[in-house]
């Protein structure tokens, strides 16, 4: 397909879903799938909530040492990453909008852009971990000296920082992988006719990962800084 054709109505695919046999109407299937994702996100939210609760309680119990630790977290990398994820939410919404009107090529490109932003986040995060490593901020590495105060609660908060960002990173890695697979499938003919709503549902998940980071960032980096 040439670039010109992609912008012309010829590049516009039909949009719809393929109905599974246990549903009576298309609307029912679409509703069920979207609702199912919302339920899943609710569960995920409570999963992270347990972690946030622990972090906040540790903050209340040991305000001084936690504040000392947060000043060592790389605020600007975290802030940049927040911006990166917010932009990626916009590109994801773009992909969804384009998939609704059936512009296949545009959809795929926006999905790839979203995946690229997600990867950028992970790269920046990796660089941040590298700096942490460099500054001897990894208490769980037994062979390596820990540079921050030897007060146990700083270690505890630093560990929680790894658990929280690690869990978020895991979600993001999953998200990027699914996104890449889906972009590949969407680049083939017929995907929008049969599975357009999968893009919408995935979009919910992506926004959720974004949202979780928007909570993680203040809870770990910003409060009491």
């Amino acid at each position: 397909m040439s670039a010109a054709a992609a912008q012309a109505p010829a590049g516009i695919a039909e949009v719809g879903i393929e109905r599974e046999e246990h549903f009576t109407t298309d609307g029912q299937q679409v509703h069920a799938a979207r609702f199912g994702m919302w339920c899943w996100l609710l569960t995920e939210l409570l999963l992270f909530a347990g972690l946030f609760l622990c972090a906040l309680i540790i903050r209340i119990m040991h305000p001084a040492s936690v504040t000392a630790t947060t000043t060592h977290l790389k605020f600007w990398i975290g802030a940049t990453n927040t911006a990166v994820l917010i932009v990626s939410s916009f590109t994801m919404s773009g992909a969804i909008e384009l998939s609704r009107i059936g512009w296949q090529r545009g959809t795929v490109r926006f999905m790839l852009a979203t995946a690229a932003l997600g990867t950028l986040f992970l790269v920046l995060k990796g660089y941040e971990y590298y700096q942490d490593f460099d500054e001897h901020m990894m208490p769980f590495l037994h062979g390596r000296r820990y540079a921050l105060a030897q007060d146990p609660s700083t270690i505890l908060f630093t560990d929680l920082y790894y658990v929280t960002t690690g869990l978020h990173g895991l979600h993001l890695t999953t998200g990027v992988s699914i996104l890449l697979v889906m972009a590949w499938m969407a680049s083939r003919p017929g995907f929008l006719q049969r599975h357009q709503n999968r893009i919408e549902i995935f979009g919910l998940y992506w926004h959720f990962i974004d949202l979780v980071w928007i909570i993680v960032f203040p809870v770990l980096y910003v409060l009491n800084r």
Binding site: F35, G36, G50, L51, I58, M61, F140, I155, L156, D159
Partner: protein, 557 residues
């Protein structure tokens, strides 16, 4: 050697050609059991009915394992000085018993079996909303629970089912980490089941099946699914942190490292108190089905029972602190949690009164399911009332961590949930299998279980009140008599459990064929064949009648 008579060969030949003689195969879809025959077709099925049966088989296996451990515990307690097993073995035994019974039997029991099989039919759906996800959750359940079973049996874990820190994080030298990982993974199977049910109930109801035409069982499935979805992830996180603590010493629950062990208890009970309602709500749902049928009367106060289910599912999130009255909780929060725990008794009592009022002036039939249901009501009342004792601060100070607590929760979980499970199993057995079970045997074992249960657990109230702590197998000799009473009761109880396994198995082959509606019941599940066809109904149902649509007595005469 004489050749077999012709007639025999003839029979064999017909049997080979037509495996189910006498069944009309021309204009009917084959039922879900005979649709395909291979083991492979069972393992790859997405049919909610078959998945329900798969769950039924697996949780029965786990029940047998858990019951076996319980038998050994009771054996050990026959003598006061704990000579029969070493202390370590005893600790591992009660951990096996608790872990298997709670995580692998009680929590999935009714939702995953009857919920999967019956609930979609009750609302007139062809299947659950996500059939493949449903199958996945069974696989998660089976693999994770077999893994955990292996670790607790082969390796051994001695923390009890509660995994309290700091014992589980610092002091225990057993296979805690693999067991935790197993329990974490099993949680996902609960979450996926809950998610599937909520979406199914919201989106898959048949035309005309409004919310207030749904049977109470469906309401309780909805309530339970809410708890699955909202509470399970919290314990997942708590257990993940526990694993991290053991492996990397991060110390969220370790005071020496700046953490707080009571925080673990908070997170644990924030799930595990709602989890006790995961266990008991479905039982309430089953009883609310059985009681109207065998009284041939509408369920008294249908809306109240429905609201009470949702009320319980919400209130249950606010009472977890009653497990920690004496474990480092401030007086103020203890007071608040005590009052809130009393509030939970209100919706529970609403249900009990409604069942009783349903029976009142009904046309009673004391068939097996009804015997179980009546047993349930009585035992649940005892369990719930003693729960109120425990929620009273002054009494709990005295009986916390004694056999009084053990008796309390067994009255609810065994006397309640397990009886409801058996009642439901008998009630829906014709629907599951297309066969009737021998009624006399059913009644006999219902009586045995009731008597055996009370003989086992009633003495434990006394023991606990007199001060016998739980989880010890050394006790002062003056407690021996009551312990022997309890252990011998458990033999009767065990016999009561063996009977159904035998005669239900027997009925699969020799039981009489069941009609579509052997009980004259009114739910949608009784309007389709027994066993149901693959897509549940020959023609998709439309609903224009209220639930429990039994004619009033006056109009029937």
């Amino acid at each position: 050697m004489t050749p077999p008579p012709d007639s025999l060969i003839g029979t064999i030949e017909t049997a080979l050609r037509e495996p189910h003689p006498g069944r009309i195969t021309i204009d009917r879809e084959p039922d879900y059991l005979h649709d395909e025959h291979t083991l492979w077709s069972w393992l790859t099925t997405t049919d909610h009915k078959r998945i329900g049966i798969l769950y039924l088989l697996s949780i029965t296996a786990f029940f047998i394992v858990g019951a076996f451990a319980a038998g050994l515990i009771r054996l050990s307690l026959v003598v006061p000085n704990g000579q029969i097993f070493s202390n370590d073995t005893y600790n591992k035994l009660f951990t096996i018993h608790g872990v298997v019974m709670i995580w692998f039997f009680l929590i999935p029991s009714i939702p995953a079996t009857f919920g999967n099989f019956i609930m979609p039919i009750m609302i007139g759906a062809k299947d659950v909303a996500f059939p493949r996800l449903n199958r996945t959750s069974w696989y998660i359940f089976v693999s994770a629970s077999l893994f955990t079973l292996f670790t607790v049996v082969a390796g051994g874990v001695d923390t009890g089912w509660t995994f309290y820190a700091p014992f589980s994080t610092t002091f225990s030298n057993t296979w805690v980490v693999p067991a935790l990982i197993g329990v974490i993974v099993v949680g996902f199977s609960s979450i996926l089941t809950g998610l599937n049910f909520i979406v199914t109930i919201h989106t898959m109801r048949a035309p005309g099946m409004t919310w207030f035409r749904m049977p109470i069982f469906v309401w309780t499935m909805y309530a339970v699914s809410l708890i699955f979805l909202l509470a399970t992830p919290v314990i997942t996180m708590a257990l993940i942190l526990l694993v991290m603590e053991r492996v990397f010493h991060i110390g969220v629950f370790d005071p020496a490292l700046g953490g707080d062990p009571v925080l673990f208890e908070h997170l644990f009970w924030f799930y595990s108190h709602p989890a006790v309602y995961i266990m008991v709500l479905p039982g309430m749902g089953v009883i609310s089905e059985i009681v109207p049928v065998f009284s041939q009367k509408r369920l008294f106060g249908y809306r109240f029972v429905a609201y009470a289910s949702i009320g319980l599912a919400s209130l249950t999130f606010f009472v977890w602190g009653h497990h920690m009255f004496v474990n480092g909780e401030s007086e103020t929060s203890a007071l608040v949690f005590s009052v809130l725990s009393f509030a939970v008794a209100v919706p529970s009592a609403v249900k009990v009164y409604n069942w009783t009022a349903t029976i009142y002036k009904g046309t009673l039939r004391l068939d097996t399911p009804m015997l179980y249901a009546m047993g349930y009501i009585g035992l649940f009342v005892v369990g719930g009332l003693t729960g109120l004792f425990l929620a009273t601060l002054a009494i709990d100070e005295h009986v916390h961590d004694t056999y009084f607590v053990v008796a309390h929760f067994h009255y609810i979980m065994v006397g309640g949930t397990a009886l409801a499970f058996l009642g439901g199993l008998h009630y829906w057995w014709p629907k599951f299998t297309g066969r009737l079970y021998p009624e006399a045997w059913g009644r006999l074992s219902a009586f045995l279980i009731f008597i055996g249960f009370n003989a086992t657990f009633a003495p434990q109230f006394v023991l606990g009140y007199l001060g016998m702590p739980r989880r010890y197998h050394n006790y002062p000799p003056e407690f021996q008599l009551l312990n022997i009473l309890s252990s011998s009761g458990s033999l009767v109880l065990a016999l009561g459990y063996v009977f159904p396994m035998v005669y239900l198995g027997w009925s699969l082959r020799y039981g009489a064929k069941a009609p579509p509606n052997p009980w004259n019941a009114k739910g949608l599940e009784w309007t389709t064949a027994s066993p149901p066809p693959k897509h549940n109904f020959e023609t998709p149902p439309t609903v224009d009648f209220p639930p429990y649509d039994y004619r009033r007595r006056e109009t029937r005469v």
